[in-house]
Amino acid sequence: MIDAGDTAFILICAALVLFMTPGLALFYGGMVRNKNVLATIMHSFIIMGVVTVIWVLWGYSLAFGPDVGGVIGSLDWFGLNGVGLSPSPDYAGTIPHQAFMIFQAMFAIITPALITGAFAERMKFSAFLVFIVLWSTFVYSPLAHWVWGSGGWLGNMGALDFAGGTVVHISSGASALAAAILISKRKGYGKEQFIPHNVPMTITGAAILWFGWFGFNAGSALASNGLAAGAFVTTHVACSAAALTWMFAEWIHRDKPTTLGAASGAVAGLVAITPAAGFVGPVSALIIGGIAGVICYMGVLAKSKLGYDDSLDVVGIHGLGGTWGALATGLFASIAVNPDGANGLFFGNPGQLWIQFVSVLATCVFAFVMTLIIFKIVDCTMGLRVTDEEEMRGLDITQHSETAYSL
């Protein structure tokens, strides 16, 4: 039975989640040098086009179509065949199947867009497009099936992932690490300075992400109900706490509270609460977010010691924040909050933490290895990087024949 309130809510949430991707474009765009800002924004923007086409043709079917062995959906729903306007028997029984499909499409869009921060300022646009098609097909769709697809093995095992901590954040973080290692450093990394060219742009982007994330997490209740309200609250609480703790961590460590730090902390908090949003209470959210701000700050600092050039800290924020969030779900989840969830370690069920750990590990390994393979294939066939000269001149002019600012 289609419920009018649920349908209206999910359609609005889908629009909110879509809006996160241009938000991410600004978040990333402000952090690069001014010769690469358009190329960086374009990565996120054009993914809205690429992934939507893939999703309608085969992506949705592979992720949510009839189960094949717990690991992938079949191609029975190719071109949205059979995905109609009445509710699906398997997913969200009170909204049209197409509403569920388009809500999920927005998650499929933002996930690869998150990875683009790892190879910003040096990747060839054509190679980027091919990478996105392959990654979306061979990494995102299977992972989404494992966790959310009817019959998926991680979901069957009882892994809790409310809105995509593993599928979206750990997968993009692990893939970002593989990508940053294979494409190697930007020219001059460690010698020249890579200073953000427009921090206000980054903060505008972070604000849009914060706003859109309500659709991401509250919408994952898939109904306009108490659970959605609970997830809305935990999302906001964790984000606020993390913005504060990152700011204080940097203040203590470097003597100054920075605006980029507050914005980065907010995003870290949003990432961490994502898997837990509908399974934990507000005070747990406060703790999860507060710890996320500090962990992710330390993760970003560790990058320079580990020697890979993850340009915009996808690993430190999404990989680490997502991992913390997934494990924290195994600590703080409570069936008093959501009877369809499970209790975590702090509520007398240590086994849940193990299940969460397995889901983190499986996601990390799968996303990392698959991204290495895809990147290697693209590198051998068409080359990943622009030439040294193009990199010096900037991607805006060499890849797109445009400049962002003229004076």
Binding site: I195, L260, Y297, V300, L301
Partner: protein
């Protein structure tokens, strides 16, 4: 005729401008510049990483006056732009061969 160029701290521009107008200077050109001297640069912090920024923002002021007025101009800039801290800037004085007012074609002192 003399051309006086001064590199000063940006927040001192208003004081210097007022001082110069009071002694009869009728025009000046100002630009935002970057550079370094003994002050060197400053550090910026992005996500916990410190970056040394070598070039500090300054204001470059250019004034052209009669030779007689030049010592007074230098004195005013010196007084008004001084904070006593490192990075107050420098004043350069040089001779000038010719000035032309484009609208009227006047040459030399009349054109200043």
């Amino acid at each position: 005729m003399k051309k006086i160029e001064a590199i000063i701290k940006p927040f001192k521009l208003d004081d210097v401008k007022e001082g110069l107008t009071e002694i009869g200077v009728q025009g000046m050109t100002v630009s935002e510049v970057k550079g370094f001297g003994r002050q060197r640069g400053h550090t910026e912090i992005y996500r916990g990483a410190e970056y040394k920024v070598d070039f500090v923002p300054k204001i470059k002021l250019e004034v052209v006056v009669n030779s007689e007025l030049a010592p007074q101009v230098v004195q005013v800039i010196e007084q008004k732009a001084k904070t006593g801290a490192i990075g107050d800037g420098k004043i350069f004085v040089s001779g000038l061969d010719e000035v032309v007012r484009i609208r009227t074609g006047e040459r030399g002192k009349e054109a200043i």
